[in-house]
Amino acid sequence: MEQQDFFYQALVYLLAAVVSVPVAKRLGFGSVLGYLLAGIIIGPFVLKFIGSEGEDVMHFAEFGVVMMLFLIGLELKPNLLWQMRRSIFGLGGLQLILTTLAIALVVILLGQTPKEGIAIGLMLALSSTAIVLQTLAEKGLIKQASGQASFSVLLFQDMAVIPILALLPLLAGFHPGGDPAHAEGARQLLGRDITGWFQVGLILVVISGIVFAGRYLARYIFRVIARTGLREIFTATALLMVIAIAMLMNLVGLSPALGAFLAGVVLANNEYRHELEADIEPFKGLLLGLFFISVGASIDFNLLLKMPGTIVGLLFLLIGIKFMVLFILGRGFGLKSRQNTLFSFSLAQGGEFAFVLVAFGLEKGVVTGPIGGILFVVVALSMAITPILLLFNDKVVEPLVVRNQNQPEHDEIEETDNPVIIAGFGGFGLVIGRFLIANGIKATILDDNPENIQVLRKFGFKVYYGDASRADLLKAAGCSQAKVIVVAVDDKQKSLQIIDLVQRHYPNLKILARATDMEHTYELLKRKVDGFDRDTFESSLQLGIKVLNQLGYQKYQAHRLARAFRKHNSMVIKELSQHYGEDEKKYLSETKKYASELEEIFRTEQDDVSHHTDSSWDVDSLREEIREIYSEMDKEKDILPN
């Protein structure tokens, strides 16, 4: 029975996601709004497919946020994080303090006590990591100045959750220590109370343990796992690691998301980074989707209908206050106007932590029941409205800002990514890689043979382990920033798979491919790749030149013959490829195919390969002409009288 129930729920959630997200994307709303709408539709207010169990789902799905921060950590090298310290503590710290005070002031003016004001201010000052980062990532804005600033603020908020949880009971007049209700509430998020120096010491030990393990052990573990060649075990290892870190963090009383983020940063220099990203990404995506759906489902529309004026008013008040504080701070921290509006709109909502904090506050009696209910609805609505606000920024505010500037503002790209990606790094790709590196060009290399990686790493190549025919791995390797991808894998099926993926998702990325046989060549021609070379052709031809030399041909003559043959060959390939497209039935079996092809090639060989260049230097015709002229002159001489 329980199993049935599980499948029923899975069916409802998945169906809702599969139907609404593509529609939302099509309409240009982004996936987050799609999920939220799906949640509203299947929620208790519209279709009633899910009821109060939606809240449990939400708590479970919050793990998606942990995974997201792990992935973000992977993208962020430690030195980059260090560079962001001013923005994290300055911008993030000020945002939290000023927003809390501003909201507190308004709450007090609305007739509540100062204690309630501060408590509500703290609850609402936090923004939604899940919604903001997912939306920014989808728009490719994470690496821009506004994205980095948003991220800094969110990171600081994550760190601030623990002190806030400690502070709330104080506001209610309780003593934090030894209070069972507090421990219960805190456990949801961070395990147990932070008591004394012992706990602090434990935290330090665990963090240095993670740093040490990530730095020195992870590489060996992943290598052993990768050697098994079992993809699912690699995925299992990655999941195991994230879950273990989250639990460890719970145990010592830190935010799991923060721990996962830290682990990600430590692993950012690891050569299996792309593979880890590719493995965790789908889980994160699904869990976050689930999370957004449950947020949508949890919006209490009954309350909204009961007091629409109040709720909508408070919603805009909340967004207004947060926007103002963010905008002023953004300006103070040097964000240019276009980046600043984006930054301010992004973070103007309440966050998922507000749900936990409000529930906690209700328990403590810091806020009263009716106010708690209103806070829930306002926060959920503010999250749901964020994608719409960003759309508004995109379509209305940004064009206005840009028009008011004399010169269009260039996006600041902080991290320059490698311009070339080489997929497949056997003997063939290696030469290309060496050639590029010899000319100071950086390449990201993808290869799925872990033995190779060890050797290459030893010689300072930047090589990542992974199957390049997977869309998520191509994305992780930076296909959206790179200029050229070299497809040098030896499996032609895989090669075509990669090319199809790249053409579908990255139409601007130039594709240069290694062709492994005739059929592969035809397929490459059909796909109109930007360039290809038959892997054995050039070296065979070079050896062919040496054969002619041994037979007594002059070096330069043999060289020119090879040049003519090369040109002839590309014509033959083009001609044959047309047949290939016309009737594939002609090629019944592999052997027959090869035989008929060879015959055709040889036939064209016989009559072509004319050598224009020879006739330019070695002018038999000229010699003849001059002889004729002179003999005519001689004849005339004979006729002339002496």
């Binding site: 040049r563 040109k567 224009h612 260049t613 006739s615 330019s616 230097w617």
Partner: protein, 202 residues
């Protein structure tokens, strides 16, 4: 006026092995590349391995009235690809010889950039010979192919030329090329000058 079909079709063949470092030739090209009736061929791009396609080049010659060989003046001559081009494209029986009349009546002009100033290329000067004398092999080649050799377009003193000077030269070049395209100079008039630059100074 713009839609008027050009009187002469011009092909500019640029021979420059180090185009990415070029200052003068790149600007000259930039000044004429958008002109109607002008075909631009970057020869070291087309034939990086010197495997010049004879058929393609001959067809290109047949399709134009004026061919410009544009290049830096290396060792009082051209970069080696132009010599290769002359060697193999101007075939006996096509460009010269009893039957070789395919190019008769067409015109050729040399455009060069030279580090030295004009004064030193004088009889009795530091370089002993004039530019026209040094270009004699090209002129003679053209004449043997029954074509007419126009006075060259020469940018002198390129090592000393600043951006201003280069852009002036580029402006002159644009005027020369478009005037030749529109047939504004008569034959007799042209041959009165040492350089085509001189005619537009008037």
């Amino acid at each position: 006026m713009k839609s008027m079909t050009p009187k002469h079709k011009i092909a500019i063949l640029l021979f420059h092995p180090l185009l990415h470092k070029s200052r003068v030739n790149r600007e000259l090209i930039r000044a004429v590349e958008d002109l109607e009736g002008v075909t631009l061929r970057i020869m070291y791009d087309l034939y990086p391995e010197f495997s010049i396609d004879v058929e393609v080049e001959q067809e290109m010659l047949l399709a134009h009235d004026l061919v410009v060989w544009q290049h830096p003046f290396y060792w009082y001559s051209s970069p080696s690809l132009l010599k290769e081009w002359i060697d193999i494209v101007l075939q006996h029986g096509f460009a010269y010889g009893r039957e070789g009349k395919a190019l008769a009546g067409k015109k050729v002009m040399t455009t060069i950039s030279s580090g030295g100033k004009r004064e030193i290329y004088k009889e009795g000067g530091i370089r002993k010979y004039t530019i026209r004398q040094l270009l004699a092999p090209f002129e003679q080649t053209v004449k043997l192919c029954n074509m007419e050799y126009l006075p060259p377009f020469v940018v002198h003193g390129t090592h000393l030329l600043d951006a201003q000077g280069i852009s002036e030269a580029a402006g002159d070049y644009r005027r020369v090329i478009s005037s030749l395209r529109d047939g504004l100079f008569s034959q007799e008039e042209l041959q009165k000058y040492e350089y085509t630059n001189d005619i537009i100074q008037q």
